[in-house]
Amino acid sequence: MLNQMTIPQKLSIKHGSGKKVMMHGVLMIYTFIALFPIFVIIINAFKTRKAIFKDPLALPTPDTFSMVGFEQVLLRSEFELFFANSMVVTLLSLFFVLLLGAMVAFALTEYKFRGNLFIAILFAMGIMIPIRLGTVSILNLMSNLNLVNTLTALVLVYIAQGLPLAVYILSEFIRQIPKELKEAARCDNVSEYKIFFTIVLPLIRPALATVAVFTMIPIWNDLWFPLILAPGEGNQTITLGVQQFIGQYVTDWNSVLAALTLAIVPVLVLYLIFSRQLIRGLTSGAVK
C-alpha cells in the first residue's frame, strides 16, 4: 500500500513544479518581448553611430560610448521647452479634471434635481464616444476664440476629454461615502460647499489618484490635438516635438535614438515609481 502511494507522490511533485516552470517560462518570454525593444533603443542611444550599426545588441562600452545624439537633440530642438509644455498642459488639465470632475460627480450623486439623469447620461456617453470626432468643430471654435496655437486650447480640450471617466469613477466612490457623515455635518449647519471640500474630497483621495493616472497618460501621450491645435513655434508638446524632430532628422540615427530615449525614460521612471498605485487602481474594480 505505501509503496503504491509513493509513486504518485513523486509524479505529482514533478508535475507540479514542471507546470510552475512552464508558467514562469511563458511569462519571462513575454516580459522579454515587452521590454526588449525599449531596451535596444535606450542602449543604442548611448553609442557611436558606428557601434549602433556594427553591433546593435551590445551594451555601450567605454570605446563605443557617445552622447552625441543627446547633444544634437538639445542643440537642434527646444526639447526642454517641449517637455515643459507637456508638463504645463498635463498638470493643468489634470488639476481641473479632478476638481471639476469631483464637483460634478458630487452634484450628480448627492442632489436630486430635474435633469440629473440626463446630465449623468450625457457624461456617460463621453466615456465611449471619442472627443476626437468633434475635431472639425473644435478647431473652428478655437479659431473663433483666438486660441489656436496656444496651450490653453489643449488644456480646455483635455479637460473635456478627461471629465466623463472622472465623473463616472468618482461618482462610484462618492456613492460609497456613508450618508451619516454628510447628515451629521448638515445637522451641525455646515454648508454644502464645506461638506464637499472638507469631507467628501479628502475621503475620495484614493479614487482621485486612480483618475489622475487614467487622465494623465492619454494627455501626455496625445499627438492628435497638439498636431491640430498647437502644432508650431514653441507650443509643441513632447510627443509632437519628438515626432517633428524625428521626421526632420530621420537619417541621423544618433539623434533619433536619443530623442526617443528622452521621450521614454521620464515616463518609465514615473511609471516605476507609481506603478503600485496605477495597478491598484486598474485592478480595484474602479473601472468596470
Partner: protein, 309 residues
C-alpha cells in the same frame, strides 16, 4: 411638514458644483460633436461660403469612386486592424492574466508591472521604436531571425503592401496587450478562492475549472475589453501617422478611418482639405462606433449577466 408651502431657495450650490464642469464638457465635447454631425450636411464653395446640401457629402463618400474607394479601403483596413487585435491581443491578454492570477506565483507583481510598461508610452514613440527595429538598414530583426534560423523569412514588413497593415496591427497589439491583461486579471482576482476550491473538490482539472467556472464568470469583462478595443481601434490614428505618415502607405494599404479623416479634413498633396467632408467622415466614424457600442449594450451585455460573486 407644515411649512411645505415655503418655497425652497434656489439651489445655488448645485449650480456651483455642476456648472463649470458641465460648461466645459458641453461646449468643447458635446457641442462640437453635434456641430460636426450637422456640418456633414453642408458644402463649401471656393470662396468658403457654406450651403446646405443634405446627404450629398455622404453620397459622394459612399458612391463616388474617387471618394468611396479610399473610404471602403480605410474601413476594411480598420476592420482588419480590429480583427488582429481581437484574435491576438485579447487572447494573449487573457492567457497572461490567467498565468498571473495563479495562486502563490512568485514575481507575479514584477511580471505584471513590466509587461504593462509599453502601454504607458506614447503610441508615436512606440511607432518609431518599431520602425527602427524592423528597418532593414539597421537590421536588428534580420540578424535576430538569422540567429534563430528564420532569416529567410525576413522582409521589410513595414514597407510591403501585403504585410504593412498586419505588422502595424501587431505593433499596436504589442503595446496594448497590458490593458486586457490587467482588466481580465482584476476580474479573475474577484472570483472567490472558495469557488475554485469547490470545483477542485468536485474533481475538475485546472483546464476544466478554467473552462467551466472562470471563463463564464469573466465573460462580462471580456465583453467590455472587446468594446474598448473596438472603440480604440476605430479611433486610432497616431501609430499609422507616425510610422507611415498621413498617406498611410504603401499605396494606402495601411489607411484607416483616423488617417482618412485627417487627410480629408486637412488635405494632402494636391487635394485641399475640406471641413464639411471631414465632418462627414467623422460622422461616419461616429456611427460606426455607435453601432459597435449599441451591439455591445443591447446584445452582448444584456445576455451576459454579471454574476454576484
Amino acid at each position: 411638514m407644515t411649512t411645505s408651502n415655503h418655497k425652497a431657495p434656489f439651489p445655488w450650490h448645485i449650480l456651483f458644483f455642476l456648472a463649470p464642469g458641465l460648461l466645459i464638457y458641453v461646449s468643447i465635447s458635446v457641442y462640437p460633436l453635434l456641430d460636426t454631425l450637422w456640418l456633414g450636411f453642408f458644402e463649401e464653395d471656393e470662396s468658403g461660403q457654406r450651403f446646405f446640401s443634405g446627404l450629398k457629402n455622404y453620397q459622394t463618400l459612399l458612391f463616388d469612386a474617387v471618394w468611396s474607394e479610399p473610404f471602403w479601403n480605410a474601413l476594411w483596413n480598420n476592420t482588419k486592424f480590429f480583427i488582429v487585435h481581437m484574435l491576438v491581443q485579447n487572447p494573449i491578454g487573457l492567457m497572461l492574466a490567467v498565468l498571473l492570477s495563479s495562486p502563490r506565483l512568485q514575481w507575479s507583481n514584477s511580471y505584471r508591472t513590466l509587461i504593462f510598461m509599453p502601454t504607458m508610452l506614447s503610441v508615436v514613440i512606440i511607432g518609431f521604436v518599431w520602425q527602427l527595429l524592423l528597418s532593414p538598414i539597421w537590421g536588428i530583426s534580420e540578424n535576430f531571425l538569422y540567429d534563430i534560423g528564420l532569416g529567410e523569412y525576413f522582409d521589410a514588413w513595414l514597407g510591403n503592401e501585403g504585410t504593412a497593415l498586419t505588422t502595424l496591427s501587431l505593433i499596436s497589439v504589442w503595446q496594448f496587450v497590458g490593458i486586457p491583461m490587467m482588466l481580465i486579471y482584476a476580474s479573475l482576482l474577484n472570483i472567490p478562492d472558495e469557488l475554485i476550491d469547490a470545483s477542485v473538490v468536485d474533481g475538475s482539472s485546472a483546464w476544466q475549472t478554467f473552462w467551466n467556472i472562470k471563463l463564464p464568470l469573466i465573460l462580462p469583462t471580456i465583453g467590455m475589453v472587446s468594446i474598448l478595443t473596438f472603440v480604440a481601434n476605430f479611433n486610432a490614428f497616431e501609430l499609422i501617422y507616425a510610422v507611415k505618415g498621413a498617406l498611410a502607405g504603401p499605396n494606402f494599404s495601411t489607411d484607416i478611418m483616423g488617417t482618412l479623416f485627417y487627410r480629408t479634413f486637412f488635405g494632402f498633396q494636391l487635394q485641399s482639405g475640406s471641413i464639411t467632408m471631414g465632418a462627414a467622415v467623422a460622422t461616419l466614424m461616429f456611427l460606426i462606433i455607435l453601432i459597435g457600442v449599441a451591439i455591445y449594450l443591447f446584445l452582448v451585455q444584456r445576455r451576459m449577466q454579471r454574476f454576484q460573486l
